[in-house]
Symmetry: C2
Subunit: 501 residues, 2 copies
């Protein structure tokens, strides 16, 4: 099957030898899915033990001289290889590097520290007492600095951490992006506020729904999107919605039902559908190889945000699905499609990232990015973090936390390290960028109005999905859109949507 794409003999050997890494990934995905969706309560300890054992096998296979020397051999002939072959070598080299760079003792310390830190973060947040979490964060930042040294970097130690989450993404890229985004977003936000263009809240946020009705609404939306439920995918419930895959023919999403504010469940579903579609549309010939998954967190987020925001929160989408929503949720009858659109798009300077709207969201990420970078360079002391957080969010968004739990303690992410937040903004930027390019080929609004998503899916497939991890993110953008990541499109999109009412 994959023989069609992999022709070089050494690479063919590598495909065979590295299939076990793929299989271990599949096993880990299934174990992870099961933990969130089906595992009995008390299964956690044994599951953790089994998972750690299999992760350790994976590490030792990645470190094996046999695999390394095959990769080295292939690299000598890199000029002779086709794109798929090069992609496989790139991905495997990267995984070998990550597995090899960090000394085992340090890795153990990392796992120990972060698992304690997660527990302590929960306690700290519930008591809104940063002091409880501080010593753990100090340790984690120290560990991150060591990771950066072992992993290596050219310009900035933070680059090493960013790269773990988004291949090839550097501090320099983040600075470039945020230097454009910050003033643009703040301007848009202030215009919205001054002119009162979008409401900060909507009464539908308080309206309760029947979970069965909500589920049927989600299912009907997925059906409209032609999500291959039961055939190549699943749709389940979990506390935190997520997407995972056990191969490109077994992709699973979840959603949540909180019982009120129905847009939350609906947009979770649409968001995860976006992730799933990426995995589902990967070239079938990559199945069973390390290329058979989305290339990066940021690229993945661009797909979920594209469906959630660009499509899902558009005016035409609100109009197009209005009859469907009304059919399942009777209480919506009271509202016009236009009112629904405003319910879907409240804009409010707020303290909590996960509840932030499209406009303010990236300012929350900017705050975290700045703080992470400053923690790594030592420009911010860990003890000063709450104060710096509070002043900075006030400066950026105009609101000030009253407690640590509303501020520095709100995200779980730092209990397991630094470097992941930028992916959200990368996703938002690329989503807007794809939109702009797609508009040259497809009348997006017209297709949405017809609930005909096929051309949109096909476009995403051709430009992004089909390649899996064949090209690194920057190369993929260059190849498919002939430009680098460009934050202007996001600003334009926000201005177009939120200022031209």
């Amino acid at each position: 099957m994959s023989q069609e794409l992999f022709k070089n003999d050494i690479v063919k050997k590598i495909v065979e030898k590295s299939r076990v890494i793929w299989a271990l990934d599949v096993s880990d995905s299934l174990m992870g899915w099961d933990i969130e969706v089906s595992m009995p309560q008390e299964g956690a300890m044994e599951r953790g033990m089994a998972r750690a054992e299999l992760q350790a096998i994976g590490q030792s296979i990645l470190k094996s001289p046999e695999l390394r020397s095959l990769v080295e051999e292939a690299e000598k002939r890199i000029e002779e290889l086709n794109d798929y072959e090069r992609g496989l070598i790139r991905v495997l080299k990267r995984r070998i590097k990550i597995a090899t760079a960090i000394p085992e003792d340090l890795l153990k310390e990392y796992f120990k520290t972060t698992s304690e830190a997660t527990i302590q973060w929960r306690i700290a947040r519930s008591k809104s007492d940063y002091g409880i979490f501080k010593p753990y964060l100090e340790k984690i930042v120290d560990l991150m600095k060591k990771f950066a040294e072992y992993l290596g970097y050219e310009e900035h130690p933070y680059d090493a951490l960013l790269d773990l989450h988004e291949e090839g993404f550097k501090t320099r890229d983040a600075d470039r992006i945020f230097n454009v985004l910050e003033p643009g977003i703040r301007r848009t936000l202030s215009v919205i506020q001054i002119k009162g263009l979008y409401k900060p809240e909507h009464e539908l946020e308080k309206v309760e729904y029947n979970v069965e009705d909500m589920k049927n609404l989600n299912l009907e939306l997925l059906k409209i999107f032609e999500y291959p439920l039961g055939v190549r995918s699943r749709f389940d419930v979990s506390t935190h919605p997520f997407t995972t895959s056990m191969g490109i023919r077994d992709v699973r999403i979840t959603t949540r039902y909180e019982g009120k504010d129905f847009k939350r469940s609906m947009y979770s579903t649409i968001h995860e559908y976006g992730h799933a579609l990426y995995e589902l549309q990967i070239d079938e010939r990559l199945s069973g190889t390390l290329l058979a998954t989305g290339v990066s967190g940021g690229m993945h987020e661009s797909q979920s945000r594209f469906w959630e925001n660009i499509i899902g929160r558009s005016r035409v989408f609100a109009e197009a699905i209005y009859p469907i929503i009304k059919k399942h949720l009777k209480f919506v009858e009271k509202y016009t499609p236009e009112e629904l659109y405003y319910y879907f798009n409240t804009v409010k300077p707020s303290l909590i990232r996960v509840d932030a709207d499209e406009v303010t969201y990236n300012l929350h990420i900017l705050l975290r990015y700045k703080l992470e970078k400053a923690m790594i360079t030592g420009d911010v002391k860990i003890g000063e973090l709450p104060e710096v957080w509070n002043s900075e969010i006030e400066r950026l968004i105009g609101v000030r936390p009253k407690s640590d739990s509303e501020g520095v303690l709100q995200d779980i992410h730092w209990s397991s390290g630094l470097g992941s937040f930028c992916n959200y903004t990368i996703g938002n930027i690329i989503a807007a960028q794809i939109r702009k390019h797609m508009m040259k080929k497809i009348k997006i609004d017209e297709e949405i109005m017809k609930l005909n998503f096929k051309p949109i899916r096909e476009y995403l497939k051709e430009k992004v999905h089909i390649w899996g991890s064949t090209y690194e993110p920057k190369e993929l953008l260059k190849r498919s859109f002939n430009e680098e990541m460009n934050p202007i499109y996001l600003l334009e999109y926000l201005e177009e949507k939120y200022l031209k009412v």
Copy 2:
């Protein structure tokens, strides 16, 4: 945790080194469960590929010189070891032996042949044409003969195959058992038939039920049994009911809903509960080791049959759960508890093993045992099998198949090898044996009448479950009941139940 039981330093090392085998077992169980319960249709191919990769890692770890030499070292000090330590060495040696004995090429041929054979068996059965399956069965019998030679045996080549399914069980044991069972069962059967003591069918077999009601009945029974649903176990639906575990704190059963003849769904549930209870009551200190699972197929079957037959099909159980059944299945109101009991216990000489009653069931197994042994020794030619089957079942049970699909083609088992059928009879025998011993300590009928199953569970725990795989089956029987496997108890049980009306 397991340190409490494993004290010897070499064994402790073995516990650590072999944990990865346990973890791979956990992963394989979860993958298997997921295939039957949750996997999307098209996930099968990638799942098969992933599973095969992980099975291959397991094999290679079992064959590693490191593990072998540790086991050899431990064996030199076997006298110093406690029972748990010896048990672990025994189980690991056995797995190493099985992984090592069969040459890799032969194993590949086996997987190739049996996977084709399974497909061809389905076709053959649907067309009722043994000729389609015959060449595959010939290959499989040849492979089995080779397996026997590589695995080694002392008395009979079939011993090597029996041992794969039931540790330590030999042709000699099977002969001893069936020599007692055959005349006894045939006598009981003929008395039942002549006197018309039990009916061959019941009108309830045709009555349809509502699946939701049936599910609630099953759930209430599981609740009465104190099945720890959601806490340490699950209850799902699959085409063929089964039990699996991913550790002793994550044990999962399934049942089926065919829409009529409600006893089938109910007894599937009770049967699987019996399997699950075995895994759930294993000593927690064995968690994460190769001893943390039931010791053998036959011993496992004894537990499922104990709950299904000894308890579940008893007169008192029918009486005790009558109000519960009536509550969920309104149509049962028409019948008395006594009628229900006869519905639960129809006796009919029949052609199909899986539908056979308690009385005739073991004659079906005897037939298969005889044929398997004769295939291995060459006393029966594969081409003659349908004819031999038909005459032999007519002699044993008094019915003659009209087609191959009702006869030699009815079971899937032979498409993957020989040697597994005896486990069912072993299970029935041990279940009756346990009953006899339990009666000395517990007034079983009185406890059932009170729906108080705790003393029964506790007894099974103490005598069987808690040990996991610490003792091999024969040793466990000796230790717990001070005797060897004794088929007389099964005969007595059947006579007591079916002849003393």
